[in-house]
């Protein structure tokens, strides 16, 4: 089939006029993907006539693509790029082998005045090719090593201009180029894989990146471009000579931290900071109070200077972003994350928060610097939340990478987050950032949290509840109507919200609208879940707990309600049982699997089974799956082991001798007729119909039965309480030999397992008898 597809594709490619190729390009690419199997078969193994025909077709395809890449029309080249990518994805190594000329013509397209999309796709295709060659030394030698430097130069030429200085080449970004983002992405993708080839470009890249990141008004780049540039700058440490990879990271990270301190010296000049560094070696710069705020020279990372408060804060945020990239991006070798310095830094940045309105310096605990004008100070208050959001995301990364090992610093981080929140809760993005941080932090140390820490979270949790509620809650509508009536009586009707008065349905309809689930709500909901799950319920003040329950009910937040139900308020002595919000969970979500599992747990059904074997059938299945996957039964030693269950009933000490007598012969027969059991499925299917009916009876009797101690596996008389014992022994014998039969019962509930297994057991009987 795929060979005809391939022939059709080559035919189409060669006969269709080049101008008409683009519209069918995406279709051809999809069809090429269908021939993946053919394209990636090694050609040396092809011998038959049809195989050689395929080889011819593949050769034709490659030749046609090569000529299309050189085609004079833009349409031809455009199509060729798409198809080259498709063949590479489909054929991998087999196709890449001998693609060197194609790679060369792809690189040459980059310098041609082709449409932007052609060149963009060209960059992506080349990135993918170099990306794929990484695993194969032969391909690296044939394709990557000779061609990658050319690609890097061509790509950099697209986005920058080079000037040669005595100390080396310097690249300046071209303003307004559509390729910046894609080129940076491509380089970011390739650097970790081809470190040695990138080494000569390290210095040039750095000059380009610092210009992009440090760009102010004349050459402006959007956020996502700067984001990639920051990641790329962080990856540059990998280009350092092999023996210095670790130290390159360390130096870069250290100079980033120092740059942040230096920038902060300027940005925070309107206040007198109370903060004291734990690092005695840190040197502060004295900003010049008479001039406009600014920093002239390049800093430790080589970033250019800046001036003005706003661009200073921009720089600070970019540096914080770089620092968080340092601790979250893969590193070339083992590195030492400077936790002490990072927490020292965030402690400095979060120590200054926006003072409450109208507070003078002594009240708010922040000392104002009298040499700086009030205007600049107020401008700083405006910028502070942005800085703190960046701090919070940095701390989130710290918690994310350290996970449970962050234990030693969680309390410090918690204090910083709560302090920042206290000062700047008016900013929604900051609230969202704090929720996101706490959401990852609470599971780390929540279970062992002290009452003081939980109480300190009170404010955060309360505003969390507010953020979760829909914008027009009940309280506001009642408050509104109350004020309406008041104003009416005073005759000041003009000031009231006339629309609300005229159209009482308006609010209802607005509430009914499904408000988009904002990021802040997502984080708030996540934080509440984490609090419910991790923090001991008795430590959460009852009023806060009630408010949390109320807001998750009103927002119908299934996961949070689940967390609340699983961790109910502990019963207080003398007040009866604690209340649970479980009805609010089951009403809207009764059809959900988790709700079913919570309300009607299957464990009691397992309990009805006598003794211990009850759950074994479930486990055995899991084991058998493993065995089937791992070829467990193939091992000679284990087959012996698998046979052993057969003799089990003989040796298990039984209280009931009369019943043991029956199974023994059947089990023995079972062993000897093992070969024949593999052809079992047909009779089994017939049996299922009959057995279902009987099983119903079994269930009804079982539920009323008392636990039965060690009943013998009987088969001929299907007495109710014995079912489960039968099952457990049966599954060990039968299931391991016929793993494919297990597929029927895997997805079913434990009760149903009993069903199917019983069937099998009975099948044996029918077969044997």
């Amino acid at each position: 089939m795929s060979s005809t597809t391939l022939r059709a594709i080559t035919h189409r490619l060669t006969t269709t006029p080049v101008e008409q190729l683009p519209p069918i390009a995406s279709f051809l690419a999809a069809s090429l993907n269908d021939c993946a199997e053919l394209l990636c078969t090694p050609q040396t193994q092809k011998s038959g006539k049809s195989d050689s025909d395929n080889a011819v077709q593949i050769h034709k395809l490659k030749t046609r693509l090569a000529s299309l890449l050189q085609d004079r029309s833009v349409e031809g080249r455009w199509t060729a790029v798409i198809l080259v990518k498709a063949t590479v994805e489909a054929g991998q190594w087999e196709i890449l082998r001998g693609y060197e000329p194609i790679v060369r013509s792809l690189i040459s397209i980059l310098s041609k005045p082709d449409p932007i999309s052609t060149r963009k796709m060209c960059i992506i295709t080349l990135t993918r090719i170099f990306h794929l060659t990484y695993q194969y030394p032969t391909l690296v030698r044939e394709i990557t090593t000779p061609q990658l430097p050319g690609f890097i130069t061509a790509a950099l030429n697209l986005v920058s201009t080079i000037t040669k200085t005595p100390s080396g080449s310097v690249r300046k970004p071209k303003p307004n180029t559509p390729f910046m983002e894609i080129v940076l992405h491509a380089l970011l993708e390739l650097i970790p894989r081809h470190i040695t080839l990138f080494r000569p470009f390290g210095a040039q890249l750095r000059t380009l990146l610092v210009e992009v990141i440090g760009s102010s008004s004349p050459a402006y780049f959007p956020d996502h471009v700067i984001d990639v540039a920051e990641q790329l700058l962080v990856s540059l440490h990998k280009c350092a000579p092999k023996d210095q990879a670790g130290s390159g990271w360390k130096d870069d990270c250290k100079s980033t931290i120092l740059s942040i301190h230096r920038t902060t010296d300027h940005v925070f000049r309107a206040v007198v900071e109370q903060w004291e560094s734990v690092d005695a070696t840190l040197v502060h710069t004295r900003p010049n109070y008479s001039q406009e705020m600014g920093d002239g020279g390049p800093d430790g990372l080589g970033l250019p200077g800046w001036s003005g408060l706003h661009s200073g804060v921009d720089r600070l945020i970019a540096l914080l972003q770089i620092l968080s990239d340092f601790i979250s991006m893969p590193s070339a070798a083992a590195v030492a994350l400077p936790m002490g310095s990072i927490l020292d830094l965030t402690s400095r940045l979060t120590s200054v928060t926006v003072p409450p309105n109208g507070a003078v310096s002594s009240q708010s605990g922040i000392q104002f610097n009298q040499e700086i004008s009030r205007d600049e100070r107020e401008a700083l208050w405006m910028e502070l939340p942005r800085i703190h959001i960046a701090c919070m995301s940095l701390l989130s990364r710290v918690v994310g990478i350290l996970a449970t090992s962050a234990t030693s610093v969680t309390q410090t981080i918690l204090e910083q987050a709560v302090w920042t929140f206290k000062g700047e809760r008016f900013n929604r993005d900051l609230r969202s950032a704090v929720y996101a941080l706490l959401r990852s932090l609470v599971p780390v140390n929540g279970p062992a949290m002290t009452r003081q820490s939980v109480v300190s979270l009170t404010n955060v949790l309360r505003s969390c509840c507010n953020d979760l509620l829909p914008p027009t809650g009940d309280s506001s509508s009642t408050g509104n109507s109350g004020s309406d009536s008041k104003t009416k009586s005073k005759g000041a009707q003009g000031t009231a919200n006339a629309d609300a008065f005229l159209n009482p349905d308006l609010q209802k309809s607005r509430r009914a609208q499904v408000s988009p689930f904002l990021e802040v709500q997502q984080n708030a909901s996540g934080l509440l879940q984490a609090v419910f799950l991790s923090i001991p319920a008795e430590l959460v003040p009852p009023s806060i707990r009630a408010e949390m329950d109320r807001s998750i009910i009103l927002s119908s937040d299934k996961n949070a309600m689940f967390a609340s139900v699983l961790n109910p308020v502990p019963a207080v002595k003398g007040r009866g049982a604690g209340s649970s919000i479980i009805p609010f969970l089951t009403r809207p979500y009764a059809d959900q699997m988790e709700v079913e599992a919570l309300i009607r747990p299957r464990m009691p059904i397992l309990m009805t089974a006598p003794e211990f074997d009850a759950y074994v059938d479930e486990d055995e299945e899991a084991e058998d799956e493993d065995m089937a996957d791992g070829g467990y039964s193939a091992a000679p030693k284990t087959t012996e082991f698998l046979k052993q269950p057969v003799s089990a009933p003989l040796q298990v000490p039984k209280s009931d001798d009369s019943k043991t007598a029956t199974p023994v012969p059947t089990f023995h027969k079972r062993t000897y007729t093992e070969e024949s059991t593999t052809e079992e499925p047909t009779p089994q299917k017939q049996e299922i119909q009959i057995k279902k009916a009987r099983f119903d009876e079994i269930i009804s009797t079982t539920s009323s039965q008392q636990p039965f101690s060690q009943p013998a596996p009987t088969i001929t008389n299907a007495e109710a309480p014995k079912v489960s014992t039968q099952v457990s022994t049966a599954s060990t014998t039968v299931a391991s030999q016929a793993p494919e039969e297990e597929e029927d019962s895997d997805d079913e509930l434990p009760t149903l397992n009993i069903d199917s297994d019983t069937d099998e057991e009975d099948d044996d009987v029918t077969m044997d008898g």
Binding site: S26, I82, E89, P330, P447, Q452, S453, D619
Partner: protein, 569 residues
Amino acid sequence: MLSESFVASTLSSAKSPTASLRDVGVCVHELQPTSILRSTFKKSSTLTNCLAVSPSHIFTAQADKAVIHVYNREKGNQEAIVPFPERIRSIAVAGGKYGDVLVLGTEGGRLIVWETCTGRQVATTASHLQPVTSLVVDPTSNFILSGSADASVHVWSLPGILSFSKPALSATRQPTNSPIRTFSNHRAAITSLAVGHSNGRHNIVVSTAKDNTAIAWDYHTGRALRTFLLPLSATSVALDPVDRAFYVGYEDGSVQSVDFYRSQSAQHPLHDPSVQSTPAQVSMEDRWLPPSAETGSVKTISLTYDGTTLLSGHANGKVLSWNVARRKYTSSVADYTHPITNLVMLPPGGIPHPSSDLKRKAHAIVKPRHDSGLSAPSHAPGAVPAEYMFHTHIIAPSDSRKPTQFSQALTHSSFPISMIEDGLAELAAFRQPGNVEVTRVSSGTAPAKESPEDAAARDSHVTELENEVSVLKKKVAVNETARHNADDEVVQLRSDLANLQDYINELHEKQEAAQQEKVLRQARKQEHETKKREAWLAAEKKGRNGDAVVQKMDIDDAVTSDSDDQSDE
């Protein structure tokens, strides 16, 4: 490849093992698919509860020396020997799936917590009166449970011990680094602890002691849930993966399972207050007996991933496997000659498991630093010292980043549809003459900018530009004439349009006429028809054959209708 392995450590004894096992103290043994010894680490001798395994390292506390041997699992060698001031009697790994924190129980009754990635080391108060012989860390990595020969089990808060900044109040109320809870229901030395698998508030722990009891209790409250009176003194305990039962090993080499779910009560049997005060008697006869009496005491037991096979390490150096379902001995898995004191199951390979999805890796441990560098600086209590570094290798990016258009395109089988559509739109625009010029010019000047170094280049550049200008002028002229032509054409087209309008009107008139004619003809036909019918009726009335008359009339009509048709044309 799906596989399951365990790590076993031995206590060196007078017996001399085979050559391949000489000096070996720690064995990594593959259990499934084939039972085979995979690797060994040498020169170690451990007591029970003195082996800890993290994803990157194996730690063994030595039996007669106050040192810990650290083995690197990745490199397969001994990485370090770390001395401590006291003998270590038990160790456990904390820190979740990364296992970065090592907890040590000392002979003197204190705990030492060592962060293996930072080298920070914190010691607690000596709250136990006897050596700490068993240690477990709960699944949240928040609580440490330590059992001692003094019959008590202490519960410690790990964040409380490790945190740099302590909440102010708790610091004054009780001495720092002391246990938060003590469980003292046992009457003799604690032999073993096993913690449940829940992350929630109702997790349990099972402790066994030399007073022949096993107690399941809630370590969050310290409340005993159930006491089990065992037939013998248990040496080791393990919990089912779903916490449905626990298994104990005895001195005589037998093991036994104790099921929590015996009764049919709807309530969880452990949380049923009516039976909590009644100890449950575990029958002597229910024990699973070893194949022979020579196996010696059970030193340690462990369960496989699926919970269906129990492994026990014995004093005679054998590892026995027991079938949980059939409650009996299955086979002997391995023989290491020396007493097996610890068995640790490794997470299975080949099944996606949270523990195999690591974002970072520790290649080497950082030895504990005994200088004061890592204690909080004196001038800022509670602050994190600047020297506090976390040594690790970050291997996977944090997943917080959204997939970009680029990353989607990179792994797509060709290119995303949106990208191809953008390209098609651009190609369509490219084909229109005006745009071609714009793009060509802008892209033509761009590479020209790159070579302004020398004069020659500049000159060539100027001439190039001039050429281009002249070309452009030509093109403009061509455009101009084209525009003139277009104007003429428009005039021409307008007149054509007027003509066509006239023609259309004419046609309309014609059509109307034809319509009228048609109506007339219809009327005529109807008239004719009635005439025919009348004639037929008349003929019938007269007694003649009506049909003949009609036929005759038809022949007449045919002649007339022909002429009618012709007139229509």
